[in-house]
């Protein structure tokens, strides 16, 4: 099993390279960072443009530029931006911002999603099930940028109710906030709640639908009946034997759910003014910067593959039948 997971990891390195190369090649072939300079008024002299072109290695073929970039990445150098700043300097801060949003969103989403799905399945065709179904479909059919914008309304309503601007919907923390570590955490929480809710709601809707159907499969199963015949109360049998088994298909879904989360994250960061990786990607496209695009793509690829790997591990932990 361990060997299998290690081999998987090795495969992933190749996949990451492939994904990054595709993004890099696509960006390099279409981006024209010099065009922005040329549009300046007065236009910069030709020598300056040439120097910039050489600086950005635009005179080299794309594969060679990619190799140069990858060579740098291996040494912890992600290249420089069009505006001649180090990519790697900005990377940790942006990764931190995005991960904070993604991880909390995913944990809340999986937790509440599973719970909602289970309740929905146990109370099938009752009012609570119908309400959960309605909620899920409304959320799933609402684009994330609409949902994010809509959520600002109740946040404002809440602030009006308590009389202070507790819930913040722009930025990650109060600019220039000074205070202890704990106070800083509290400050960040105020900015975190609404964007995280945007992410988590989508995840809850997504996982609860699948958890409901997985649980319904298990509800009619013979082993649940055996557990009750053994003397377990229905509730205990449902959780110990039913839910435990119904969690298995969720492990597979986890890998797919993460993709959904990242697309959602890009919009969410933009709407709530978070300077995370999603925001950076858009910045990169706007400033026609291949290095930023490749770096963000690499980050996303790593995240997706790690989640896929985690879902393999989870599957093996949950289901003894696949352990080899």
């Amino acid at each position: 099993m361990i060997g299998f997971l290690l081999r998987r990891l090795a495969n992933y390195v190749v996949l990451c390279l492939a994904a990054t190369f595709l993004a890099f090649a696509l960006a390099s072939a279409t981006f024209d960072p010099i065009a922005i300079l040329q549009q300046r008024n007065p236009p910069p002299p030709a020598a300056v443009l040439d120097a910039k072109r050489a600086d950005l290695h635009l005179d080299q073929p794309v594969p060679q530029r990619f190799l140069t970039w990858v060579g740098g990445v291996a040494h912890g150098d992600f290249g420089r931006t069009v505006t001649d700043r180090s990519v790697v300097e900005e990377l940790p801060r942006r990764v931190g911002v995005s991960l904070r949003l993604f991880l909390i969103g995913v944990v809340l989403g999986v937790g509440f999603g599973v719970l909602l799905g289970v309740i929905s399945a146990i109370r099938q065709y009752r009012l609570s099930d119908y309400l959960a179904t309605l909620f899920s479909f409304v959320i799933l059919s609402t684009p994330v940028f609409v949902l994010g914008t809509l959520l600002k309304q109740p946040a404002q309503g809440f602030n009006d109710l308590i009389g202070t601007n507790y819930l913040q919907t722009l930025g990650e923390q109060t600019p220039g906030f000074q205070g202890s570590w704990f106070a800083s955490l509290g400050d960040r929480l105020r900015y975190l709640i609404v964007p995280t809710a945007t992410i988590a709601l989508g995840q809850i809707a997504y996982y609860s639908r699948y958890q409901r159907s997985a649980m319904l499969d298990v509800l009619g199963s013979d082993f649940l009946r055996t557990a009750q015949a053994k003397g377990l109360t229905r509730r205990r049998a449902l959780f110990k034997h039913g839910l435990r088994t119904a969690l298995i298909p969720m492990a597979t879904l986890f890998a797919f759910g993460f993709g959904l989360l990242i697309t959602g994250g890009t919009f969410t960061e933009r709407i709530f003014g978070w300077y995370g990786m999603g925001d950076w990607l858009i910045t990169g496209v706007v400033s026609q910067d291949a290095n930023i695009v490749a770096t963000v793509t690499l980050f996303i690829a790593v995240l997706v593959l790690v989640s896929g790997w985690l879902s393999d591990v989870l599957y093996a932990v949950l289901d003894p039948r696949v352990r080899v």
Binding site: R225, T226, A229, K230, G231, T233, T245, P320
Partner: protein, 718 residues
């Protein structure tokens, strides 16, 4: 201590009264067509240590009534009446109160062992859980684990301490059922309810599991309710019998009494509808026409009346209660004597009629060709040295071969015109693979298949298509083998269209086919869903007949059907063979059915034929130990005989075909081998025995000797 505990731990728990008393139990479920009255006034009682057998067909309410006792019916079920366990009313108890009784005082063994255990916990943990749930605070984790291993050992799992740490998927079906029984007896219950405990198992494993259940009963002294559709299982195991039909008991009494003197026409028909393994001559099977009534809107009167050949006007007005049968004594006055729900039971008692007489079973003659000696008849199918190996591969990108499963390993047989060959064996023996290779007509890995003298491997595409016309198939599952979106007229026309018959001929042939299999011509526009299982199987047979084939391959054609329906389909197959001169290759695990329908039989074990020959020779005087064990494992629906039989119980499960034993493949489970002295054993381990014999009876055993394991039925039976 809770109320339930004080009540059951008290001295009155040991009193002599019945363990279980069910009175006027009624269960109904909501459905789209109205309420389904699944159980309609069922009463019975079980004394301590007594085995009560409940038999009935699917939908008779036998399982629902037992789930009602356990309190495990879905919330939508409405349950009324009374269920008293040790004098305490169970109906109306909360889930929490019931859970203190379930698994401790009353436990249950379910039908399908493959799904009865939670896949994510080890077997040992699941047994220990039964102990820990009821002994909270009194039983430690270590004690429970130790006891779980003891229990696994008790139910006959070898190497129990190691196997307790295995997960359910690492156990075979038979072993899982043993584990479920271990859970059921863990807390030394007063009552065990076994719901079709052996239906999903192979016969040799069924025999093992029944032995385990008997041991379990001896160890716990519990009363047992065994629910089954197999009258053979009940004959050997139960003390008393309760026959259910349409949600009610229609006959009940001592097992010997009911088998010898059935007083309700349904019981009579049921006993006559099963083919007997011990029938020396072919006896006509009794088909019970029609099908059980719908339980949503029952007409007044006896529910069996529409199918009953003895029906009179009075049967249609009022549903008869259970009458005390004349001459039977209700010694205890609590309804344990012989009773039957038929207003004409006195007449039956007077005349003692035969089931065949009452139900008018048809006597089916032999086909004309049967008069011609076998050697002179045309060879319809010839299989020689057939080999089929499945390779086991590893890796997804670079597949590499890591092993091979020899599913079929060099088997040969032929089928002559007008002849039925039964191919029998346990699951995994290779009988289905053989059948698929024959139907596939593809390139073989080894050996040859010839149909009507033409070698399949040498044919081109057109030649293969022509051969398919002569060789048709009927599948096991009538539900899945018909396209639900095709009216049956189209189902029957399709093979003829494929083979380019003119439309006018097809239009003429379809009604003929319906006549032939006993369906009504008007039903040609109906969809498969509108037919019952037995009727659907008739449609499957009609489809196979459409092209006037010479050979029909039947893959377990009756195993999905209820006994009373099964008899009708077997009779139909018999009649078609006689009338149309067909040959059958009949693949089945039910040896009684094979004995009834086949002329010759081939017994397979791990990809090899171990014994082949005339059906009377093989069944009457089996020579291979495996055949002997197989035959002795099959219960005979006759309590006297069944209890006197000496049973050969095979050890363990079928070895993996990926790694079969050396020499004789059966030697690992062979009782004969086990009894041999060391020096004579060597040949079994080292040399593979050849299939040899005299006349039409060959076997593959170094030490073959005939041994009659089934005593032929006396002619004056019943």
């Amino acid at each position: 201590m809770t109320a339930a505990e004080t009540l059951f731990e008290g001295p009155d728990a040991e009193r002599a009264g019945p363990v279980l008393e069910v009175d006027d139990l009624r269960v109904s479920f909501p459905s789209e067509d109205g309420r389904v009255q699944a159980v309609r006034g069922l009463s019975y009682r079980v004394a301590p240590g007594e085995v009560l057998g409940i038999v009935g067909e699917s939908g008779s309410g036998k399982s629902v009534s037992s789930l009602a006792v356990m309190g495990l019916l879905p919330d939508s079920a409405r349950v009324t009446g009374s269920i008293r366990f040790r004098g305490r009313e169970l109906l109306g108890l909360s889930d929490g109160e019931l859970s203190k009784i379930r698994g401790r005082r009353v436990s249950m063994v379910f039908q399908d062992p493959l799904s009865a255990l939670t896949p994510v916990y080890t077997v040992g943990d699941q047994i220990a859980e039964a102990l820990l749930t009821h002994g909270r605070g009194r039983v430690s984790r270590q004690q429970a684990d130790r006891r779980a291993v003891e229990l696994l050992d008790l139910v006959g799992i070898p190497n129990a301490a190691a196997r307790a740490k295995a997960f359910p998927h690492e156990f075979s079906g038979g072993m899982r059922q043993r584990a479920v029984i271990a859970i059921a007896i863990a807390n030394d219950p007063d009552l065990i309810i076994a719901d079709e405990p052996t239906t999903a198992l192979d016969v040799t494993v069924q025999a093992q599991v029944l032995e385990v259940l008997k041991t379990a009963q001896e160890v716990t002294g519990a009363g047992i309710v065994i629910i089954t559709h197999d009258l053979g299982v009940v004959a050997g195991f139960a003390d008393r019998l309760l026959v259910m039909y349409a949600g009610r008991a229609v006959e009940t009494g001592d097992v010997h009494e009911v088998y010898r003197r059935p007083r309700m026409p349904y019981t009579l028909g049921l006993l006559g509808s099963i083919p007997r393994l011990d029938a020396a001559q072919k006896q006509p099977l009794v088909p019970i026409e029609g099908q059980p009534p719908s339980l949503t809107d029952l007409p007044p009167g006896c529910p069996f009346a529409p199918r009953c050949p003895m029906v009179v006007d009075a049967c249609l007005t009022e549903e008869p209660p259970l009458f005390q049968v004349d001459g039977s004594v209700d010694a205890t006055g609590d309804g344990t004597g012989h009773r039957a729900a038929c207003i004409r039971s006195a007449e039956i008692a007077e005349r003692e009629p035969d089931a065949a007489e009452v139900f008018g079973a048809e006597v089916i003659g032999e086909p004309e060709i049967a008069a011609v000696p076998r050697a002179e008849r045309e060879v319809v199918l010839d299989v020689a040295d057939l080999v089929k190996t499945f390779t086991v591969t590893k890796g997804s990108v670079f597949k590499r071969k890591v092993g091979a499963v020899h599913a079929v390993d060099g088997i040969s047989f032929d089928i002559r015109a007008g002849e039925t060959l039964g191919l029998v064996g346990e699951s995994g023996c290779g009988k289905t693979t053989t059948l698929m290779e024959i139907l596939g007509l593809e390139e073989l890995m080894g050996g040859s298949i010839s149909v009507l003298g033409k070698r399949a491997a040498e044919l081109d595409k057109a030649g293969r298509k022509a051969i398919r016309r002569d060789m048709q198939v009927v599948f096991q599952d009538p539900q899945a083998s018909l396209d639900p979106r095709m009216p049956i007229g189209d189902v029957l026309a399709e093979p003829m269209q494929v083979h380019g018959y003119p439309a006018a001929d097809i239009a003429k042939r379809v009604p003929e086919l319906l006549d032939l299999v006993g369906l009504r011509r008007e039903h040609v526009g109906r969809y498969p869903a509108e037919f019952s299982g037995g009727q659907r199987q008739r449609i499957g047979i009609a489809r196979a007949l459409a092209l006037n084939p010479r050979l029909i391959v039947l893959d377990e054609p009756v195993s999905a059907l209820d006994v009373s329906i099964q008899a009708g389909v077997i009779n139909l197959l018999d009649r078609l063979k006689a009338e149309l001169g067909l040959s059958y290759l009949f693949v089945a695990h039910d040896l009684s059915v094979v004995r009834h329908i086949a002329d010759r039989v081939a017994v397979m074990y791990l990809g090899k034929i171990v014994e082949i020959g005339d059906v009377d020779a093989v069944f009457g005087a089996p020579r291979h130990p495996y055949t002997q064990a197989l035959l002795s494992a099959i219960p005979i629906p006759d309590p006297v005989k069944e209890r006197q039989r000496e049973r050969i119980i095979l050890e363990g499960d079928l070895p993996s075909p990926a790694n079969p034993p050396t020499g004789c493949r059966f030697h690992t489970r062979c009782f004969l081998y086990a009894s041999l002295p060391e020096e004579r054993r060597r040949i079994c381990v080292e040399t593979e025995p050849a299939l040899e014999g005299s006349g039409d009876h060959s076997d593959a055993c170094h030490f073959a000797r005939s041994r009659a394991v089934v005593e032929p039925m006396a002619d004056d039976h019943r």
